[in-house]
Symmetry: C2
Subunit: 217 residues, 2 copies
């Protein structure tokens, strides 16, 4: 009975890793679409978000069925509850990539990103990509050391967001209020995307160690 | 055995209603603090958010323990999973009120809200308050009709957000980029607050009827 349980748990994790790969593609493509005013790519990210949502619905069903059939207790039960939350975080990460793509689409044929913040947005996209990649390793190998690194990368993301906000509110900002608001929202979406990855890494850390991850800075 | 289960379920709902009341206070106070540049009130909202977080942690523990001890299946299990998600939504609503209060604190002694959008922000605060009040009735009485009303109120919130964005991006906007970005973020927080209330109402609807709530507009 325990074997069936762990087999199914592995298959749930495998699907979460698929979601993670989709979400990584989504944030990479959304960043590109935003930086290059690439309408086709933006539309692709928006359409593909449905696949992430569908995997989540399917995973939720399977996780709840596994609870009902196997009646796990203690750490196995906690692992399943944590798994439901991880799927929800992944689904939300897909939404946030989708939001970034919608920003690109809304301003097309113009580019939403003014020249001054191209580097900053590029760095935020790279940071998001790095964070989701590490989070994927945490999820696959239950790697608690890597979980702490995700938190550190998130600090970097927060710094990048503060830098972006300082630029758009600074005295040298020559662009429209619209551009400033677009960039403020974009930075918020990247930052929230990263927060959800941290949250996933922390859930794995907690499930593995029984302790909350210490704050690394 | 079923009786103990339902008693504990009721006590969990009772605590979620407490969280709801705290979250309603928080959004009402945060709106006031934002509109009146009331630092003391803003600090209170920020400090009180801890109480919401603590109830959530406690509820999560109790819900998972209830699962482990009573091994519910079918609708009882789904009700508990839904309950975990409702607590998470409530916790997030507390965070969003907290974010609004932080905006008030950040601009103190100035008022973050320019005169032109005072009415709009007031209406968003009122809409948020109305939505959380109705959601509370949905949660307490499992009222599926009221659940549909929450969705309708959320459409009103979305309209108010679009109106606010149109004002700050419009040709008559005389204020700083900083003010525009502040108001954009504030409107996003109100809108997300409302989304989480809708999500709670929809979870109750689904648990009660076995069907997803139809879109009312």
């Amino acid at each position: 009975m325990r074997d069936v349980f762990h087999e199914e748990l592995e298959s749930i994790t495998a699907d979460q890793l698929k979601m993670t790969a989709l979400v990584k593609d989504a944030i990479d493509s959304a960043t590109k679409a935003l930086l290059n005013a690439d309408l086709q790519l933006a539309e692709k990210v928006i359409a593909d978000d449905l696949a992430v949502d569908n995997i989540q619905h399917n995973l939720d069903e399977r996780t709840i069925n596994l609870m009902a059939r196997q009646q796990p207790v203690a750490s196995d039960l906690r692992r399943l509850v944590s798994s439901l939350r991880i799927s929800a975080d992944l689904e939300r990460m897909g939404d946030l990539a989708h939001h970034i793509a919608k920003l690109a689409r809304m301003r097309y044929p113009n580019r939403a990103v003014p020249a001054e913040v191209v580097e900053n947005i590029t760095e935020m996209g790279n940071a998001a990509s790095r964070i989701v990649e590490k989070m994927s390793v945490v999820l696959e190998f239950r790697d608690t050391n890597r979980a702490l690194e995700v938190d550190k990368d998130d600090d970097e993301m927060d710094k990048l967001q503060r830098k972006l906000i300082a630029t758009i509110l600074g005295p040298d900002w020559q662009h429209s209020v619209e551009s400033a608001v677009d960039m403020a929202f974009a930075s918020r979406y990247f930052e929230r995307f990263s927060d959800h990855a941290v949250s996933i890494a922390q859930r794995v850390y907690y499930t593995e160690t029984g302790e909350f991850a210490p704050k690394v800075s």
